[in-house]
């Protein structure tokens, strides 16, 4: 049976070279970076090299990079951390979009329950935030705007530079969840109006359990976890050396020759989209151009996304019906609902996220499989006439 993985938005396979970089830190170079002796210094050197690589890949300074246990922690740390920094004062307003990842949305909602004012910006039918609407919502009490660079379900890429410029003009911090974007979209943070950025290694062929946060120098933020001097006192705990070294190598590889790699991915994506739209009553979700190079999200009318997913799995094709974190829930995707889809159309959605190892032949095989399964499922559907 074919084994086709088209769920790179959920997680990516670990790159062989990244693994090779990590292995010495599991075995020979096992020191604790805080130890004073040889093993400690060896580990510390690995840690700081990874930090330099991460900074270089993002166009940032090494001291602006904090390693975390993943994207969820990075998002929580930034949003709760900025809120705590301001919590004694009068300014208690946070703005985000309606289609953020749960790690942002739930954190902002939690702050909303603890005395902060929260604005959830709506999006248009493509999932885009309107910068002018954002500008109108910023008040003298606003402390933070957090809008994702690219959406994990529909792949829509937000105008983050424009959003950042508005925030800077108004004296408000701007954070972006770039978990899906790093490796797909270039960053040069010394030039861009972004104050904070979250990323996760396992979305760009790095290991699970490690992420990073870019925090521009002099940004006011408080820590979430207490107890040691690690990571500039912002994130205590013995550093996950193998993971961090893996992140450093993975981000270096992901951002080298990115244009050529994303160009190839885009072609594959458009081939898949074109093929899917040939099927009757299939519509594309998200923006036709302003979308992640590997992201395809369609609604297949008169079909349940989940049953489509499971049938594809039986044919060896791994896809998702939304984001992995909400998989298994019976609710239609809040992202699709926010773009104006009705519940039924939202329930028939399918996300296929391509990666660098997918081939045109796999795309064609998948298209044929989707066509067959959709025909079969619709024959059984009372809704489809």
């Amino acid at each position: 049976m074919q084994k086709i993985y088209m769920d790179h938005g959920a997680t990516t396979p670990l790159d062989g070279e990244v693994l090779a970089a990590m292995l010495p830190y599991l075995q020979g170079k096992y020191g604790n970076p805080s130890s004073l002796h040889f093993h400690g210094r060896e580990a510390r050197a690995g840690l700081e090299t990874a930090r330099e690589k991460t900074a270089r890949a993002l166009g940032a300074y090494p001291e602006e990079i904090i390693f975390t246990s993943g994207g969820t922690e990075a998002n929580n740390m930034v949003i709760q951390g900025v809120a705590r920094y301001f919590s004694a004062g009068e300014r208690r307003h946070i703005i985000t979009s309606a289609i953020e990842h749960h790690a942002v949305l739930d954190t902002v909602a939690y702050l909303g329950r603890t005395g902060f004012d929260v604005t959830f910006l709506p999006v248009d039918r493509y999932g885009l935030v309107d910068p002018e609407e954002l500008a109108a919502k910023i008040t003298a009490k606003t402390i933070l705007v957090t809008v994702m660079t690219a959406n994990n379900e529909i792949g829509t890429i937000q105008p983050i530079d424009e959003i950042g410029r508005i925030c800077r003009q108004k004296g408000v911090y701007f954070h972006t969840d770039a978990v899906q974007a790093v490796g797909n979209i270039p960053f040069n943070l010394k030039e861009q109006p972004i104050d904070m950025l979250s990323l996760s290694a396992h979305k760009f062929y790095g290991p699970k359990g490690v992420g990073a946060l870019y925090i521009r120098q002099k940004t006011g933020i408080k820590q979430l976890i207490f107890g040691g001097a690690q990571e500039n006192k912002l994130r205590p705990g013995t550093e996950n050396l193998p993971g961090i070294v893996g992140l450093g190598r993975a981000i270096e590889m992901a951002t080298t020759g990115m244009e050529a790699k994303t160009g190839a991915l885009r072609e594959l994506r458009d081939r898949l989209i074109a093929g899917l739209l040939q099927i009757e009553d299939v519509r594309l979700n998200g923006h036709p151009q302003k979308r992640l190079p590997g992201n395809v999200n369609v609604s297949v009318l008169y079909v349940e996304g989940e049953s489509l997913l499971l049938h594809l799995d039986l044919k060896g094709i791994a896809v998702s019906s939304g984001s992995a974190c909400t998989a298994g829930s019976l609710e239609p995707s809040y992202v699709l609902l926010a773009t104006g889809l009705d519940r039924q159309t939202a329930q028939g959605s399918l996300r296929l996220t391509l990666g660098r190892d997918n081939t045109p032949a796999e795309v064609d095989y998948t298209l044929q499989a989707v066509q067959e399964i959709v025909t079969k499922l619709r024959e059984m559907s009372p809704l489809f006439k």
Binding site: D7, A10, T11, P13, L19, L23, L26, Q27, G28, Y30, G31, N32, S34, S35, L36, H37, F38, G40, S69, G70, G71, T72, N75, N76, H101, H102, A103, V104, L105, D106, T107, S200, P207, K208, G209, V210, L224, I225, F226, G227, G228, A229, Q230, P236, G237, T238, E239, N240, P242, G243, L310, L312, D313, A318, S320, S321, A324, C325, A327, G328
Partner: protein, 389 residues
């Protein structure tokens, strides 16, 4: 590695068992799915997650669903202390801990004080032990949480958990007990149900597992506020895509460490006593800080060579490829003397001369013999050098 070396800093971190590294490599290469995904790749990862949870639960004698995986011991301690206090504040605002806890417990308590909680910090005796009667005496009707570590990471004192728990619960059943068991997991018998413990923190990299993974045992029915928000992972108490290779590595490391634990721990205790005796025979003025050598943890002891600065001895030993520490690794770069040793009320030169030795199941008798010989040589040489000045 060098021809002759003795890594005696296993309380800072340990090397990963080769089997664990191989297992993690296998999972990273072949089982890369997201455990939340509905397809086969996802269920493959989910199975590893469940099996790992069962392994840890079985070793502790608790239920699988009572294990929450975290990014390490520090996060587990933060989650437990901050989470239980914040979530149960309606029942009271008084908390009890000790002055010799790890920074990842003391840090959250300092934070909770800023949030309006009152904290009683208990003092140990000269051996580093907390008297259960003192814990009971500190209880007030407002007390909701007691947090006490099992084995101290700097001096190896072992707290009488069962007695503390029994005494506290006899006075007030509702008071929650958290234990930082980072140093004792797979070294000493540890059964939260028998010991009457409500929450217990563990770390993988102290038991030859990977850095970046830990766990919290949380008794069912105990209420906890999460540190992070954003998903239903780990019952919503710890959202984020699970670090499956790390979790699989932790489970295997625990299983291997727990095998023949009693024999292995007895062997460590013998090695420890042998090393202490060898040093004290050669240097009668050397002072053992904390518990007596027959007592305390099987793998940790703290020793001072009065008149010699710990850091000088550390670097001289390093030349012989013997690796020890002056205290907790997280504070190695701090200029302040250890808060644990200060609590023992040591004299200034004993404080400054303190070194921590920590063994692991991978240390051999030959390594310990080598270390004993070299430590004695190095200390003699340093003393001679100092006498000449």
């Amino acid at each position: 590695m060098f021809a002759q070396e003795a890594y005696l800093d296993n309380s800072a971190t340990t090397r990963v068992y080769p089997e664990v590294a191989a297992e993690m490599q296998q999972v990273m290469e072949k089982k890369y799915g997201n455990a939340s995904s509905l397809h086969r790749r996802g269920s493959e990862a989910e199975r590893i997650l469940h099996a790992s949870r069962r392994t840890i639960a079985k070793i502790l004698g608790v239920k699988s669903e009572e294990i929450i995986f975290t990014s390490g011991g520090t996060e587990a301690n933060n989650l437990a202390v901050l989470g239980m206090a914040r979530r149960n504040i309606r029942r009271g605002n008084h908390l009890i801990t000790t002055v010799i806890e790890h920074a990842s417990v003391l840090g959250p308590f300092k934070k909770l004080e800023q949030e309006g909680f009152t904290v009683s910090y208990l003092l140990p005796d000269k051996q580093g032990l907390i008297d259960p009667a003192k814990v009971v005496a500190a209880l007030t009707p407002q007390t909701i949480l007691v947090s006490i570590m099992h084995i101290n990471n700097e001096i190896g004192s072992v707290q009488p958990l069962s007695q503390i728990s029994a005494a506290v619960k006899a006075k007030n059943q509702a008071v929650l007990l958290h234990v930082d068991a980072v140093q004792s997991f797979c070294k000493l018998p540890l059964n939260p149900v028998e010991h009457g413990i409500d929450a217990l923190s563990l770390s993988a990299h102290k038991i030859h597992g990977p850095k970046g993974t830990g766990a919290l045992y949380l008794r069912r029915d105990v209420l906890l506020q999460p540190l992070f928000w954003g998903g239903e992972h780990e019952k919503g108490l710890r959202p984020g895509t699970e670090n499956i290779p790390g979790i699989a590595g932790m489970a295997l490391a625990a299983r291997l460490s727990d095998q023949n634990r009693k024999e292995k721990a007895d062997r460590l205790q013998n090695l420890k006593e042998k090393l202490i005796s060898a040093i004290q025979t050669a240097h009668p003025r050397a002072i053992l800080n904390g518990p007596r050598k027959e007592e305390g943890a099987p793998h940790i002891f703290n020793l001072s060579f009065p008149g010699l600065k710990g850091e000088i001895v550390l670097h001289a030993l390093e030349q012989e490829h013997i690796y020890v520490s002056t205290g907790a690794a997280c504070h190695a770069h701090s200029k302040n003397p250890s808060h644990v040793l200060q609590a023992l009320q040591l004299k200034q030169d004993t404080l400054e001369g303190a070194l921590r030795f920590s063994l692991s199941y991978l240390n051999t008798a030959a390594e310990v013999d080598y270390a004993a010989t070299k430590i004695n040589e190095v200390v003699h040489a340093l003393k001679k050098f100092q006498a000449r000045r």
